[in-house]
């Protein structure tokens, strides 16, 4: 029944394995080598009962000590061969698995590097990580052990049966008659235990999330004095996990001793029946002793059959999840014959550009048209979600416009290689991401070949050199994940140095100063001035002061350009959004000026 099910599952999922063939088939020599040695191992294993039988029936009964000695040393020899064979069988089997997933990981990582932003907008890091770790591991485990376990099962059961039948047909038949009981038990155990294991894993996942949230949000928990409430919520998770574990162990307790019991009953029946045969002289005592070992060679693997079947279906599910990543389309790629140039001049033109993000109903950008000549500064203003960032993301082709055209130096962005495009566009984003690396390497992230002088020069121009020099290890300071240990302003300045070092012809400053104090902001603004020289610059900002000197200011509302022009013109429109923002922000300033002059 189980075998049948295994074959059925096999039939349906061959497709998954066929499509992943590229990863494991090149290493097939390890697999076949391993299976070959497995044959020897299994052959040697079933020698033990035979040797035992020979010792009792020929050596002892026949009072033939010489024969017993031969058996003893022969046995050592056989086991030595088995040991060596076992080494190769195990080592090569494992090698088959780890070599295959080495290639698989490589391909997955490669894929992940090139998947577009669209993919990452909808993917959870946790989910991706679990695919890259747990699913890869599940697949490896099956490759390393799955095949050989199945092969081993077939071999040892058939070898044992042959020996059994040659010793005593009735006893062999009795043993065979017991196996359906065991098979049914294993089957029904398996049906229940795997959902139970899944429930444990899920419960663990929930508990993990709960604790993670609690610890990450500890500031909020403490600020709101919600410790007791948090303890109560955690208690639920903790209890749930414990209950799921206990339920599963109850299944074990119910079924496992019972499986053993079936095997034991088989031993008892063999003893009764075989004992009678021996007493009647129809069977030799050694043969009966051999049966006590042979029984377990059949019962043991049978108990594990359920796990094998499950492993197979898990590997299949893992394989599917991995194929999902590998099959993901990379819709944004360089064209066939891309324009490759070291340096763009930096003119940017949008012609009736519309953008709709996948999975969203409304357009993020509607009919955007503007033109920036090389070296010009474009200010983008508008509320959160009005489409400011979307415009800049289209220039670097992190997304493709739904319709309309985007031209760089008069050519569509789609005609450039991605590399040319991104080499010429520098980003400083609101949420700075720094890598677990030295400050030096973080600054040199976009240009690892930069010399120390160039790096220090960039840091100086980004107003970052002073604080970096004050760190005990200076530029060699290693930053933790997300640049732990630095303030928001410091991280921001490193990000600015990073953008500066690739010397882009188009620069994008996406709300880069919101999280820093007044003095730092002033410093960063100075750095921006330095940064903008000789480049086409897009400034996304909330502050009028950041954009007032721009060559053109686009005020966005709901994905459309609501107002456009230079500062002096925009403030003339008394009902305009720009004017309203100006009023709020400049009330202070005017007042300040009068005070200063007073």
């Amino acid at each position: 029944m189980l075998l049948f099910e295994a074959i059925q599952i096999g039939g349906g999922s061959m497709d998954t394995f066929r499509r992943l063939k590229n990863f494991y088939w090149p290493h097939k020599k390890y697999l076949f080598g391993s299976l070959l040695f497995l044959l020897i191992v299994t052959g040697a294993t079933v020698c033990y009962p035979i040797v035992l039988q020979q010792t009792i029936d020929k050596g002892i009964k026949g009072q033939n000590f010489g024969y017993a000695s031969v058996l003893a040393f022969g046995f050592i020899l056989i086991m030595a061969i088995k040991g060596v064979a076992a080494y190769f069988q195990q080592y090569w089997g494992n090698l088959f698995g780890i070599s295959s997933v080495y290639e698989l990981r490589k391909a997955l990582y490669r894929k992940l590097q090139y998947l577009p932003f669209r993919y990452y907008d909808n993917a959870h890091t946790g989910d991706l990580m679990s695919r890259l770790t747990a699913d890869v591991e599940g697949f490896r485990f099956f490759l390393s052990f799955g095949f050989s376990q199945l092969f081993n099962f077939i071999l040892i059961v058939s070898f044992s049966l042959v020996i059994m039948f040659s010793y005593s047909v009735p006893l062999a038949v009795v043993t065979l008659l017991m196996t359906p009981f065991l098979a049914v038990t294993v089957y029904s155990f398996d049906k229940k235990v795997h959902p139970a294991f899944r429930a444990i894993r899920k419960s663990m996942g929930r508990m993990n999330t709960r604790v993670q949230e609690n610890v990450s949000g500890m500031n909020t928990v403490k600020a709101m004095a919600q410790e007791a409430k948090e303890i109560e919520r955690f208690e639920w998770n903790n209890t749930d996990y414990k209950d799921k574990q206990i339920y599963t162990s109850t299944l074990w307790a119910k079924y496992f001793p019972f499986m053993e019991f079936i095997g034991n009953i088989c031993v008892v029946v063999l003893l009764g029946l075989g004992g009678t045969f021996v007493i009647r002289g129809e069977m030799k005592p050694g043969e009966l002793v051999a049966f006590f070992s042979l029984v377990w060679y059949i019962m043991g693997p049978l108990m594990e059959l359920g796990f094998m079947v499950n492993q197979f279906s898990q590997a299949k599910a893992s394989g599917e999840r991995l194929l999902q990543i590998l099959d993901e389309p990379i819709e944004i790629a360089s064209p066939e014959n891309p324009i490759e140039t070291d340096r763009l001049l930096g003119s940017v033109e949008f012609r009736h550009v519309y953008l709709k993000y996948p999975n969203e109903e409304s357009y993020a950008l509607k009919d955007i048209t503007f033109r920036a000549r090389p070296g010009q500064v474009i200010g983008l203003m508008g509320a959160t979600g009005s489409g400011k960032s979307s415009i800049t993301r289209l220039i670097a082709r992190f997304y493709d416009a739904t319709s309309g055209e985007i031209l760089l130096d008069g050519e569509s962005v789609k005609n450039y290689s991605l590399k040319t495009l991104r080499k010429n566009i520098g980003f400083v984003l609101q949420e700075t991401f720094l890598f677990s690396s030295t400050i030096r390497d973080n600054i040199a992230y976009g240009n690892p070949d930069a010399t120390d002088e160039e790096i220090i020069d960039a840091a100086k121009r980004a107003q970052a050199h002073d604080f970096i020099s004050e760190l005990p290890k200076g530029y060699d300071t290693i930053l933790g994940e997300r640049g732990l240990g630095l303030s928001g302003g410091q991280k921001q300045r490193i990000a600015i140095a990073r953008a500066l070092l690739i010397n882009p012809s188009i620069l994008i400053l996406d709300d880069a100063t919101s999280a820093v104090d007044m003095q730092t902001e002033a410093k960063i603004q100075m750095a921006f001035r330095e940064l903008m020289r000789g480049r086409t610059t897009f400034i996304i900002a909330h502050r009028i002061s950041s954009v007032r000197h721009a060559d053109e200011i686009l005020v966005l509302k709901d994905g459309q350009i609501a107002e456009r022009g230079v500062h002096e013109d925009l403030i003339q429109n008394p009902n305009g959004l720009y004017r309203r923002i100006y009023d709020i922000q400049y009330k202070d300033h005017e007042q300040l000026k009068t005070q200063q002059n007073a």
């Binding site: 009792i56 053993e260 959160t384 070949d449």
Partner: protein, 609 residues
């Protein structure tokens, strides 16, 4: 396998990323720690534990008896004397014993697992609850990840020890002793001969295995490096793509991936070498039995039955020895985990309730700082003798650059820390005398990095006051103008949100935390950089709400935006942990001191662009 080459020459010789994956996985055995761990068994010493032990005693006794019955009794008595009746009796007895063994196994597995899971439950609960009340100082010095690892992984790694380890050790020791005693009583000559392999087996299961274990530890270290990089490269993918670093990163990954492959290959090879030795140890035992056993039968007194029994017992030797080796490994791992767990449990919260705490009820919200000094760590003094007086209901703005001590003052008012010296008082009462839970409920802090818990918007706003009704939550959201964006979400107030989900913008998160604060209705409100990430339009919208929020309570505002600071009743200017100026905006502007220069420099910087 040829490695992929980075595009940049410099990266061929330089390591690009660094990950701290040097967690020590095991520690030497330590009795005191073991005793402390076993304390967790105490609550079950009279209930689950005795049951489990009885079950295991019965099971072990039966497993030890059966080989004698099948060997000595069956062959030397029944078969030798052709006693069919005896055979039936024997078969019946063994069947009954097996049934008893079945029952005892059932209870053993059940009871040991329940026991183990309860112990794990208790440890985790103890740890989690303890961590909840630890002070901010504790959280400052640790990443969220490292705390998570202790509550989840370190506790999990004790699981094996408590469900199987303790009971298995008892079973295995009993089993080994039992077998040895029985073998000697059956035939001491054969027993001695056969037991020559025991030292070899012990050597294999301890010394040899240690090497294998080390090799696997190396694999885990390399794997955790690989995982750290994967995680980081996913989170930083946008930066990687905008800086064209795909190829360089692939080269880095290739190196790490190859390291994993190599360490794994070496570990698996060591593991495979183990096999032939185990086979040989078993084979030598069996060969001695066959050779010397046959010799003793032919030339001496030994019977076939004893020989068969020996064969059975010999087959039972390796398992307990191997398991004891494994348990020993488990113990070493448990030593490392429990050391880390106990380290947390030994942390004392340094902010604690007084013996007889005072209620917050009568307090209006006057705040006094008297000679307050504070140091975060030994080196840096964050506050150097602060004296301040805030009237109840006043709005106070704290101004100064990063590190001037603004946030420290706010943290002391919320009693997230206690001052190193000096006192903070509410209405003249030292806040260390006030009941902590009431103090926290009456001092709300809106922080810059608002945390969104997974759940609905409704639940998130309700976070600070779990008993608030839906109507109250909605009213609070309306008061700060958050209702507009909430109603645009797919399920309104019942939209599910989570920390890492991108549904909410930074500004929207901030509005949610405002709503939280309004709902909590505290006597003292602290806004720590709360408006810095809100865009001007939204800022305009919440300005009214802010006024309403500040009304009738003592409010402390930490902000950079002049518009937020200007209307405060009092502005306190801090520099390097000292108060250098205080007064209203106009007073301070007229004084042309530090504040004046801060304001001017802000505008100069902006003007310059």
């Amino acid at each position: 396998m040829p490695l992929e080459k980075p595009e940049s020459k410099a990266l061929e010789t330089r390591q690009r990323f660094y990950y701290s994956s040097d967690r020590i996985i095991e520690k030497p055995f330590n009795w005191a720690q073991m005793a402390r761990l076993l304390q967790y068994l105490k609550p079950y010493a009279k209930t689950l534990l005795p049951g489990a032990i009885i079950a295991l005693l019965i099971g072990t006794a039966i497993r030890l008896t059966v080989p004698i019955l099948i060997g000595v009794y069956a062959f030397d008595r029944v078969i030798k004397h052709q006693d069919i009746h005896g055979l039936y009796w024997l078969v019946g007895t063994i069947a009954v014993l097996y049934f008893l063994s079945y029952l005892s196994n059932y209870f053993r597995i059940r009871l040991t697992n329940i026991l183990g899971q309860y112990v794990i439950f208790d440890i985790r609960k103890h740890l989690f609850n303890h961590v909840q009340y630890l002070s901010n100082r504790f959280f400052d010095s640790r990443s969220a990840g490292s705390i998570l690892v202790r509550i989840i992984n370190d506790v999990n790694s004790l699981q094996d020890l408590f469900t199987n380890g303790v009971i298995n050790t008892l079973t295995d020791l009993l089993m080994l002793c039992g077998i040895i005693v029985i073998l000697f009583s059956l035939s001491w000559q054969l027993a001695i001969a056969v037991m020559l392999v025991i030292p070899l087996m012990f050597f294999l299961s301890t010394k040899f295995r240690r090497k294998i274990r080390r090799a696997w530890q190396l694999v885990r270290l390399k794997q955790s490096k690989l995982n750290s990089h994967l995680n980081e490269s996913i989170q930083g993918i946008r930066v990687t793509q905008s800086f064209n670093q795909e190829v360089n990163n692939r080269a880095f990954f290739d190196v790490v991936n190859t390291e994993v492959f190599e360490t794994w290959r070496s570990a698996t090879q060591k593991n495979a070498v183990f096999r032939p030795f185990v086979e040989m140890a078993n084979a030598i035992g069996s060969a001695i039995l066959i050779w010397f056993g046959a010799f003793l039968i032919i030339h001496s007194h030994l019977t076939t039955g004893i020989f068969v029994s020996f064969a059975f017992y010999l087959g039972m030797f390796w398992d307990p020895i191997s398991r004891l080796g494994q348990t020993y490994n488990q113990l070493l791992v448990a030593m490392a985990s429990s050391e880390r767990i106990f380290e947390f449990l030994d942390e004392r919260p340094n902010v604690r309730d007084a013996q007889e705490p005072v209620s917050m009820d009568g307090i209006k919200g006057t705040i006094d700082f008297e000679d307050v000094r504070f140091t975060y760590d030994e080196e840096r003094e964050a506050l150097k003798g602060i004296n301040l007086h805030f009237e109840a209901g006043e709005t106070i703005a704290l101004v100064g650059h990063t590190g001037s001590g603004k946030s420290t003052i706010a943290n002391l008012i919320g009693r997230f820390y206690d001052p190193t010296s000096g006192t903070v008082k509410f209405d003249g009462i030292d806040i260390r005398q006030i009941k902590l839970s009431e103090l926290r409920a009456n001092v709300s802090t809106v922080i810059q990095e608002t945390f969104i818990f997974s759940g609905t918007i409704m639940e998130n706003i309700r976070f600070g006051r779990p008993d608030a009704t839906d109507e109250e939550v909605i009213a609070a959201a309306r008061a700060v103008g958050a209702d507009q964006f909430i109603e645009q979400l797919s399920n309104g107030f019942y939209t599910e949100v989570e920390e890492r989900g991108n549904i909410l913008s930074v500004g929207e998160r901030q509005l949610l935390s405002f709503a939280r604060a309004v709902l909590a209705d505290p006597k003292i409100l602290i806004l720590d950089e709360a408006t810095s990430s809100i865009d001007t339009e939204t800022e305009l919208k919440i300005q009214k709400a802010m006024k309403k929020l500040l009304e009738g309570r003592t409010s402390i505002i930490i902000a950079h935006r002049l518009s937020t600071i200007r209307d405060a009743d009092k502005i306190v200017v801090l520099d390097h942990g000292e108060v250098i100026e205080q007064g209203t905006h106009d007073e301070l502007m007229r004084a042309r001191g530090k504040y004046y220069h801060l304001v001017i420099s802000q505008f100069q910087g902006l003007e310059a662009v």
